[in-house]
């Protein structure tokens, strides 16, 4: 519990820095007023809007106002939806979450057995095939795989819907698209981690006890091999989110990623700010989760505090 509290305290400065960056990024992308008003607007109208938005105040005042808003969870209204940006972003969160979780499930289902198998069969044909596929999987762009899957399984053989959401069938192709990309990296990690662990002395001890090889591998080796994998995968959450942007867009999946891409295109800065902020928090949370999992997997950590 103390660990949890200290982690939360550690998050605060990070959030502070993020809000700072978001503030300047938005102001660097140009004058929002010229985007918000039609070209026919008069100078007077522009000036009025600027004044009402506080854009004529000194930067530090703007920043303080902005921070006061951010602390209250107010990122301004989306000019496209005319609703508070944060609410719109949060509405999209469950869909993204569903996609992320199911992609992780797909990735784990592929990577754990593949990684273990190629480790115990190292330097055999099957290992070469698995390692080769994971290199391929990493090299394959997400959008390309997504489009290929749509062509194959939605257009040619219509098993799955082309895009959209609503049923579990809608989730299949996007999860595979994103899942395989994650699986590629994960397989490689599990393989190398397993190879290291399989040479450990406690593995020899486990074998000397007469345990079945499956128990030796799936209990004694895997549990140890997963420790570094969990950490590294958690550090890749940002990549996962990057993947959701593309995957959601390709499949019109109504998640935060799709929203963010649309908002950027429409210069809907309130939404961009809110989404960036939420994504940053998600990355931090996932790192925290990784830390907790790490502690659960590796009993040596708990007592070292």
């Amino acid at each position: 519990m103390r660990f949890f509290l200290t982690s939360v305290i550690k998050i605060i400065p990070v959030l502070f820095i993020i809000s700072f960056i978001v503030f300047f990024l938005v102001r660097l992308t140009g004058d929002p007023v010229s985007l918000m008003l039609p070209e026919t607007a008069t100078d007077q109208q522009r000036e009025d809007l600027r004044n009402s938005m506080g854009l004529n105040d000194p930067v530090y005042i703007q920043y303080l106002n902005y921070m006061a808003d951010v602390v209250r969870g107010n990122f301004g209204d989306s000019y496209k939806y005319n609703e508070p940006a944060l609410e719109i972003v949060l509405e999209r969160l469950p869909a993204s979450f569903t996609l992320a979780i199911s992609s992780m499930v797909v990735a784990t289902l592929i990577a754990v057995p593949a990684g273990i198998y190629s480790a115990i069969k190292r330097n055999t044909f099957i290992d070469v095939v698995i390692t080769g596929s994971s290199v391929l999987g990493k090299a394959m762009p997400n959008f390309w795989l997504g489009i290929m899957l749509i062509l194959l399984f939605a257009v040619h053989i219509s098993i799955f819907p082309v895009s959209g959401s609503g049923t579990i069938m809608h989730l299949v192709l996007p999860s595979i698209t994103l899942g395989t990309a994650i699986a590629a990296e994960m397989t490689r990690l599990i393989r190398s981690s397993m190879l290291e662990v399989l040479g450990a002395e406690y593995i020899r001890t486990a074998r000397s006890k007469g345990l079945l090889e499956t128990v030796v591998v799936n209990k004694h080796a895997l549990r140890n091999a997963l420790i570094p994998v969990v950490t590294i995968m958690a550090l890749q959450t940002a990549t996962l989110i990057g993947g959701t942007l593309i995957t959601e867009t390709v499949f019109s999946w109504p998640g935060m990623g799709q929203l963010l891409v649309q908002a950027v295109n429409a210069r809907d800065m309130a939404i961009v700010q809110a989404a960036t902020f939420i994504i940053a928090i998600l990355v931090i949370l996932s790192n925290l989760m990784a830390d907790l999992t790490y502690r659960y997997l590796d009993p040596r950590i708990k007592y070292d505090d």
């Binding site: 450990a200 406690y202 074998r207 000397s208 007469g210 009993p299």
Partner: protein, 335 residues
């Protein structure tokens, strides 16, 4: 003498790789009787661990036992199916390894790791196997066994971990216990405790023990018989008294001379020059000849056989107590 518990005959292990074949074990033979402690000694790389791993069928890939036999109460282990072999491991034959720090799995509790092997080989339910684990930990002198069962390896000291390893190894009442340098990683007082413990337990359970070590002090303390290995071969074998009082092989003599004396400063292994050749660069003739102070031409050319000099005392050396003279005679016969 009664039928031996374990009979190793002409055991050969090889590793095949792109660079060629190396054989760290080359025709090793010796026996272990019930309740007997056989010490296997020799410098690093002499093939002690490979020999013991062969007994359990655990020679690491790509290594393999390619010749010879290992009979446990008459049954050849080298011909056994894997599933049969697994029933023996941890049950009839147990092994304790050198590194107590790394031989236990860091992510599972002591209890988990002990109960695992007890339940595997004995028809006990969960509470009974916990009870059995507690009994074993108690037997090896671990205080508060119930608490230790819930602990992780890193929470115990090296000595305690090695006790746990011993408790685990003995938990199914094995007929044969192989201890591969069980005390090397421990400090001296703990070493003595562990050795005493092993001695007591062996007498109590009548287990046959193979004790691998390169510490002759340890041998003197606990062994009944000694097998001296060099370059993957047995070079001398005798009772512990014979080895210490009448060593015949120059290598054994060298090992004995390098035992640190309690009175003087600790000597290095200075008595034997050089080091064990790797299996890939084994010399012809007697494998020890490049380092032997009394090597002759015969030793360089002909590989000596293991022969019985006096009853129960075997050596692999052309020299006799009479020394070089006899050899010069032999040399003249071959040249």
């Amino acid at each position: 003498m009664s039928e031996p518990l374990l009979e190793i005959e002409d055991l050969r292990v090889r590793f095949r790789s792109d660079e060629g074949v190396v054989s760290p074990v080359n025709g090793v033979s010796f026996q272990v009787h019930e309740g007997e402690t056989v010490a296997v000694v020799g410098e690093s790389g002499s093939g002690k661990s490979m020999t013991s791993l062969s007994i359990l069928g655990l020679v690491p890939a790509p290594g393999e036992v390619y010749d010879g036999s290992i009979r446990l109460q008459g049954e050849d282990l080298t011909k056994m199916k894997r599933s049969q072999m697994r029933k023996l491991r941890g049950n009839e034959i147990s092994m304790i390894f050198q590194e107590p720090m790394t031989s236990l799995n860091p992510v599972f509790t002591i209890g988990n790791q002990m109960i695992e092997v007890i339940r595997l080989h004995q028809k006990l339910d969960k509470t009974e196997s916990i009870q059995q684990a507690v009994t074993m930990l108690d037997l090896v002198g671990i205080p508060e066994p119930e608490r230790v069962l819930k602990q992780f390896p890193h929470q115990l000291s090296g000595g305690m971990r090695q006790r746990v390893m011993i408790a685990m190894a003995l938990s199914c009442n094995p007929k044969l216990l192989i201890a591969d340098e069980p005390t090397t990683a421990l400090d001296v007082t703990i070493q003595a405790q562990i050795l005493n413990l092993m001695k007591e337990l062996k007498d109590e359970l009548n287990t046959g023990v193979i004790l691998i070590t390169h510490d002759l002090g340890v041998v003197a303390e606990v062994a009944d018989r000694v097998v001296v290995m060099y370059g993957g071969e047995v070079v001398e074998e005798a009772t512990v008294d014979e080895i210490f009082n009448h060593p015949v092989h120059p290598y054994t003599k060298g090992l004995l001379a390098s035992v640190p004396k309690m009175t003087g400063p600790v000597e290095e292994l200075g008595a034997i020059k050089g080091s064990v050749p790797t299996p890939s660069e084994m010399p012809t003739g007697c494998k020890f000849h490049p380092r032997c102070p009394i090597a002759t031409d015969l030793c360089k050319q002909v590989h000596p056989q293991l022969e019985e000099t006096t009853p129960q005392h075997f050596k692999r050396c052309f020299h006799t107590e009479g020394g070089v003279k006899h050899d010069e005679h032999e040399r003249s016969t071959i040249s």
